[in-house]
């Protein structure tokens, strides 16, 4: 029987960061993961600019819409609409191995190699002091950890009017990528009336991204190919698999794939993990001295509930309410497509009505090009011929606002494990997620304010699309940090109360979920938890 020293569950953003922290200390680390990779038959994407490939490449359908048009999604607006055929493995195996039972919540989960980080939008926002405190995170440790993570993955950012909402006092980063014309236009409009906007609680700034703009560590600086939704060819965008692949070269790191961790059981000298081998559907055991769960909030909740829960155990849940608003800039009607673009968000507009730098809502702004015309045409209530003519004319003017709101715990947001014979694990996660009328009213009011502010920046909303709860892909708060030794809570070190050797390194511990995307914060937290695991021997 092999007893591993440090066993990390999951290869996503938090698993990769926790692993690197421990490996850098010379400790022996093993990563257990399902780790579904792109199919070998998946198309190879040639290097080149999006518009050039569209004109030249006869095989483009393979990565743009998928073989058999499998990437052409039909039906109501839902989760993962922007997932392109080359990133479809992010969803592989999910319905089979981690089924969800919910009429109110439709999350995106992943068993892919790199987890949800495969399709991460790269936003690297730091939480403010007030938000860190509300989330139950140690602000001094988090500030240091943000810098560590930034140094590891490479971040591009700008010190501007929104700095206190975006990067705070982060020191080392590369310059932001150049903005496209739609964003430059918004930025100029904002700058012209900046003081007025600030007075009303609006702050606009460049979005910090996990994207390098200059070559470093064997990765290429961003080349403005606008293929970000399809390809990681130059590795300018950081993905967890980049770190895990590099760790695999180190002698004190082992990666074991095809294993879905089901539960753990602490024994006197070690912890036993029961796993499902997805190649055989048989249960196998692994043994370790220290266990670090980093399989995303919902995945970790499943493991903890199977290990320690009774049938009726309910865990709380946090998820940023999300809506998106396609908008147009009349100035760019009928303009030719712009070469050398960036598919990621370029600007963030914060709405902080009471100027406290806490509990703000944020709109991420994207211009629309490389996700193709057909995806947007289906939302136009006209026949396809005229809708195509109209949208081809408007496409260069389209800006999408993705609006996130903060979230707090409440009795109507919870999850529990239900037994079911139809799943290889014997269970499914049941989630109930509902906002109160008061919460809905706050979200609507803020959305109206943000839409109004964008109008003053020459960007007019067309409609508000509600993709449903869970679509923000930001989940947290199932095992909140607690100073007392209550079950299903975490100690400050990340240790699961009631256990001696089980730690949680993802966002399960957050007591509050600020609106800015959580990924940078959960990576910083994973580093802190790993430091704490190492310190405790």
């Amino acid at each position: 029987m092999t007893i591993y020293d440090y066993l990390i569950v999951g290869s996503g953003c938090s698993g990769a960061m926790a692993a690197q922290t421990l490996v850098d200390k010379g400790l022996h680390v093993t990563m257990l993961d399902v780790g579904i990779e792109r199919e070998p038959s998946a198309p190879t994407i040639p290097d080149g600019d999006f518009l050039q490939l569209r004109q030249d490449d006869p095989e483009q359908y393979r990565y743009l819409i998928g073989d058999k048009a499998s990437g052409v999604v039909w039906g109501a607006v839902g989760k993962g609409e922007q997932i392109t055929p080359t990133r479809k493995h992010i969803l592989a195996g999910v319905d089979t191995y981690i089924p969800m039972d919910s009429t109110t919540f439709s999350p995106l989960e992943s068993l892919g190699y790199g987890g949800l980080g495969i399709g991460w939008g790269l936003q690297c926002w730091k939480y403010s002091e007030a938000d860190l405190k509300a989330a139950g995170l140690d602000s001094a440790k988090m500030h240091a950890a943000y810098q560590t993570v930034s140094d590891r993955i490479g971040i591009s950012a700008t010190d501007d009017d929104a700095t206190r909402y975006t990067i705070g006092n982060l020191k080392r980063y590369q310059p932001s990528p150049a903005m496209d014309r739609n964003h430059r236009y918004i930025y100029e409009k904002y700058e012209a009336k900046r003081q007025k906007f600030n007075k009303q609680g609006f702050h606009l700034g460049r979005t910090p991204l996990g994207l390098i703009t200059k070559d470093r560590d064997g990765r290429k600086g961003y080349a403005y190919h606008d293929m970000d939704f399809y390809s990681d060819n130059d590795q300018s965008a950081w993905r967890p698999w980049i770190t895990v692949n590099r760790l695999k070269q180190r002698p004190n790191f082992t990666y074991i794939g095809n294993k879905l961790v089901l539960s753990f059981h602490e024994k006197k000298d070690y912890t036993e993990l029961k796993c499902l081998d997805i190649t055989t559907d048989k249960t196998v055991s692994f043994y370790c001295r220290k266990l670090i769960l980093a399989s995303s909030t919902l995945g970790t909740a499943r493991i903890v509930l199977r290990s320690l829960g009774s049938g009726s155990t309910r865990l709380p849940l946090l998820c940023n309410p999300y809506t998106y608003v396609p908008s147009v800039q009349p100035r760019f009607f009928g303009k030719a497509a712009e070469p050398k673009k960036l598919g990621f968000t370029q600007l963030s507009l914060f709405y902080d009505a009471d100027h406290t730098n806490s509990d703000a809502s944020v709109a991420s702004l994207y211009s629309y090009q490389s996700l193709m015309l057909f995806r947007i045409v289906r939302h136009v209530p006209l026949n396809f011929v005229d809708a195509r003519i109209l949208m081809q004319y408007l496409l260069s003017s389209i800006v999408i606002m993705g609006i996130h709101h903060p979230d707090k715990h409440s009795d109507t947001k919870f999850l529990e494990l239900m037994q079911t014979g139809s799943s290889p694990t014997g269970d499914a996660l049941h989630v109930n997620y509902e906002l109160s009328d008061a919460e809905k009213a706050v979200c609507s009011q803020r959305e109206r304010q943000l839409i109004r502010a964008m109008r003053k920046m020459g960007t007019y909303s067309l409609k508000k699309l509600d993709p449903g709860y869970g679509s923000s892909i930001h989940y947290a708060g199932t095992l909140p940090y607690s100073a007392t030794d209550e079950p299903f809570t975490l100690a400050e070190s990340g240790r699961l109360h009631g256990t001696r050797t089980v730690y949680v390194a993802d966002s399960s511990g957050f007591n509050y979920l600020p609106a800015p995307g959580l990924t940078f914060s959960l990576m910083a937290n994973a580093h802190i938890v790993a430091e704490s695991v190492a310190k405790n021997g």
Partner: protein, 134 residues
Amino acid sequence: MADDQLTLQAQRFAQYLVHADPTPHAIQLYRQALAQKVPLDAKDTRLLALVDRHPSLLGLVDAALPLLKPYSEVRRRLYLMLAILEASPEYYQSFVPLERPPLYFLVVGLACVRAVCKTILGMLLVVALGAKRS
């Protein structure tokens, strides 16, 4: 549906959508995408039969469906063909934004007026078709 019928349907849909014949490759992709059968309800069966029998009515049916039956199979198939055409270099000019002269907004405005008229006529047609058979 037989391959021949699907080929014919692909040709009609492409002609309707971009006023051009589909390449053999686009037809092949369309057939592959529809290889997996989906169950059709009675209304979709009638609508598909109608546009196959009377291709000239396709525009009216397409115009009515976003409001009357947004997830109709007819609309799904048109959408599939639209995506296939967009992902083919031959139809690049029909999809990628092009520099337009200032007065081009009149063309777009006309398309919108035409679209609204088609919607009204199309809704009358589809409702009448439904009423006649129900």
